[in-house]
Amino acid sequence: AQRVTQPEKLLSVFKGAPVELKCNYSYSGSPELFWYVQYSRQRLQLLLRHISRESIKGFTADLNKGETSFHLKKPFAQEEDSAMYYCALKRAGNMLTFGGGTRLMVKP
């Protein structure tokens, strides 16, 4: 069965520090993974997807099939990055399985 695990419920860093939000998945097929973000009082929105290999707002994520991971990274955190982050895995029928989420707090 497909599963997405985000081991940290809360991650707190200082502004300018590197950030890594962890995501591990289990899936028998070829995985397609996403990161969604929810800023305070805003709706959940797509941040990035692994197939596009793009950097959004300074964030990148690399799919590591050997470690079944899709960690989200940013070299220098900004206060405006504070939000709830969800890792998601595409499954059959365009459905998404979400992880439990990680709240990122960037302190000044």
Partner: protein, 111 residues
């Protein structure tokens, strides 16, 4: 600008009431979804729909039903609300690709 609109931001209902949560999208998307969002559990899929009058159970359908009479509208129904259904409910829609567009959420409290 893509829009998924949920009819209510906040709802308070009594145990045993029948509750309707409405969602409308203006993007002509085939796929529509209902999730509930709980701290530590993330988003869990309740029901989804690929087309008008078509519905499939998600991961936690017990106690819920849905209706999709028109392409743009997807309703979630709590047949007899219970306190363990107190949660944030998110509606989403998508086209062919799995990128989902979410509504602003409905925070339901069952007392």
């Amino acid at each position: 600008d893509v829009k998924v609109t949920q009819s209510s931001r906040y709802l308070v209902k009594r145990t045993g009431e029948k509750v309707f949560l409405e969602c409308v999208q203006d993007m002509d998307h085939e796929n529509m979804f209902w999730y509930r969002q709980d701290p530590g559990l993330g988003l869990r899929l309740i029901y989804f729909s690929y087309d008008v009058k078509m519905k499939e159970k998600g991961d936690i359908p017990e106690g819920y039903s849905v209706s999709r009479e028109k392409k743009e509208r997807f309703s979630l129904i709590l047949e007899s609300a219970s306190t363990n259904q107190t949660s944030m409910y998110l509606c989403a829609s998508s086209y062919i690709e799995p990128e989902a567009f979410f509504g602003q959420g409905t925070r339901l409290t069952v007392v």
